[in-house]
Subunit: 415 residues, 2 copies
């Protein structure tokens, strides 16, 4: 097993050097890293092929294999991602407020790096340069632990990024990859409070639960999305159909996809038969409560478990309600705090939905699929927080910073 | 043992009712609670006397007994605290940003309550109405677990606050006190993720460590302050003396008091003899490294342990350095991320200190004692965060809120 204390100490030293880098130096290094990835594409693809072969041999699903796969285009995408981060404004150093107190003390709050960020994620090698880029831009050292199924890919990517850093005279240790796949190492990482300022898990519900349960380092929970669309009595049903089809089928394996439809009983009959037909073109399985089932050709009965399930698949649960209040109660009971939408023409219900639904992102008359750093104008995202502390919803560069109070005095003492 | 699931469910229900209260209703209730405390002062003092008697019998220190004691003046102070919170602006509902995206989606971020806040604290009954007031004002239900040595006092205070809430037609369950002193109950509270949005420990280093180590609920660490004052080569020594005496002696048992002095070797001889004399009037024990010891009459040799100790007492450690860099390295090694000060006339060193010291509050030429919600203009504080996530430094009302994204659409779907 590797010595995580040593990993922590290295990150500690590296972050001090990084903290002194100007925005220009950081951007130059990000572009050098992007160039390195493109230059090393053949090596990375070769190493990725080893992971792919092992994955196939152990029977990984097509979806997981697709997430694992790297090719020229995807590596170019990773490089472009780093260049985009280089082009974003640097939040570090911004003084978010400053004022003079009655005693003359000038008290300000300045944005600074968190320090050392830990990331635990699954076999998605694209997360490696993504996470590095965002953490680096915000002056944080990063310790990555990617899924063991992507180990060869990650090692090749990190080697390439290191060469970019070295070219710019920056310490490799701002980016460390834990290559030890021992579970005990992951647990130790979750308890590395002395060095880690935050731990961000990215992946499925199981991974996130494990990190929340075992980590003593502060965690930002990301990602699980059991997202609902509620079709109100007053909804424009053509708009509703359009939004539901988009939110369910535009991309099914993502956390902001719609998993559950909540329908006011007054519009069941007008909405469901036509919607069912359109969704059947995408082979969406509809799991319905008894009243909805009557209008869904080929539907299957829903169980209690369905209401709480994030399918990440061509499946949609359908729940009937008799009132707006019942819809809100149902959604607040089963939602995971991610993204929730109402389709309505009622001003009052629109405003009440925004007010009463407890989630990171609450929509009126739009697809839940917009919950995304780019779509919200953050430029890039490190994940979508479903917790309430520190950051909620899509997390951009700012979520990787903290502030410190800076106080300019002239000899003040407290009375 | 009590059923914490039931406690959680009650808080869940109560927070929904509280969320619908206007600022006016909340302020009215806070004032009613303040009136109730003053009306019930005799009862509270009688119950407090029981705690005091038990405390004396078990040999509690004078300092702890003083923190436990309630009298008319202190109860009036608690009531005034609630009235001051009522007078503060309500952060809830503020839209902190809102803009229109290129596709016409209007994306805003609105300040909302965290939900349910847990507090674990020691035998300081004044924390009970303080924590309640700040959480209530920000629309949060609160679950309190105060030190068992203050149980009778806390029960009486909560009873009184409940009568204020009831008078205003608000549910008592927005304020719940865990009266079960079983340690297992505390551990369960730390794992009540289903209901608690955050847990804030307030107290000594031991309590905070226990909560950080055992909690799966997100924690905000507060309070431990091993605060340094560095006297630079260029310092105005009269100013330095004045600030050091204030930061060490104005109030010794608090987290923003100075615990350690770091002195540039060039000013050892000019600073220490005179400072020692003045501090001796307060019977401050000086624990010095070898070089400082030569100039400190009655000083005792410091050990390695002293550099890392928050004394909360009339003790000051004194460390000699030969350069600014050495001072920064020493402070960044031993500080607890609370409050650190430099006394200097050097522009460059002042700016570098603000930049390079890693702490919640970094001062130039002022006493560390100013780290406080009121002094910083926040109006009130629930504690001082020494962690980097969510809130850092004095936490006012805003620290008890989160944001949610509200999105106004007109049928947008994602391409």
């Amino acid at each position: 097993m590797i010595n995580l204390q040593e990993t922590g100490r290295r990150a500690e030293e590296a972050k001090k050097i990084l903290a002194k880098c100007s925005t220009g130096q950081k951007n130059e290094a990000l572009r050098a890293c992007a160039d390195a990835l493109e230059r090393d594409a053949a090596i990375i693809i070769r190493e990725n092929a080893k992971d792919m072969e092992k994955g196939r041999a152990k029977g990984m699903s097509a979806g997981l294999l697709d997430r694992l796969l790297l090719n020229e285009a995807r590596i170019a995408g990773m490089a472009d991602g780093l260049r985009q981060v280089a082009a974003l404004p640097d939040p570090i150093g911004e003084v978010v407020r400053m004022s003079t107190r009655p005693n003359g003390l000038i008290v300000g709050q300045k944005r600074v790096p968190l320090g050392v960020v830990g990331m635990i994620y699954e076999a998605r090698p694209n997360v490696t340069p993504d996470a590095f880029g965002l953490c680096f831009k915000t002056g944080n050292a990063v310790i990555l632990k990617g899924g063991s199924d992507a180990l060869c890919s990650n090692i090749a990517i990190v080697d390439s990024l290191w060469s970019g850093l070295e070219k710019c005279g920056l310490p490799k240790d701002v980016l460390q990859l834990i290559t030890d796949t021992d579970r005990q190492t992951a647990v130790e990482l979750m308890r590395l409070n002395e060095y880690l300022d935050v731990l961000i898990p990215r992946g499925g519900a199981g991974l996130i639960r494990t990190v929340v349960q075992n980590s003593t380092v502060p965690v930002i929970e990301t990602g699980v999305g059991n997202c609902h669309i509620y079709v109100d009595e007053s909804a424009d049903l053509a708009m509703a159909e359009n939004i539901i089809i988009n939110a369910k089928t535009q991309r099914v394996g993502v956390c902001n996809a719609c998993e559950s439809l909540v329908v006011h009983s007054a519009v069941l009959e007008k909405l469901l038969p036509s919607l069912t037909e359109k969704l059947s073109a995408f082979s969406v399985e509809m799991r319905c409560d008894e009243r909805a089932l009557a209008f869904v050709k080929g539907g299957v009965p829903a169980t209690e478990e369905d209401w709480g399930t994030e399918y990440l698949d061509y499946i949609l649960s359908v729940k009937t309600v008799d009132s707006f209040d019942e819809a809100v109660a149902h959604i607040n009971r089963y939602n995971t705090g991610h993204s929730e939408a109402i389709i309505t023409e009622s001003y009052t219900n629109a405003q009440r939905f925004l007010e009463e639904i407890d989630a990171a992102c609450v929509y009126v008359n739009a697809s839940t699929r917009f919950t995304d750093g780019n779509e919200f104008g953050l430029g890039a995202e490190i994940g979508i927080s479903t917790q309430k502390l520190h950051a909620r919803g899509p997390m951009g560069l700012e979520a990787l910073t903290t502030t410190k109070h800076i106080i300019y005095g002239s000899g003040q003492v407290r009375q």
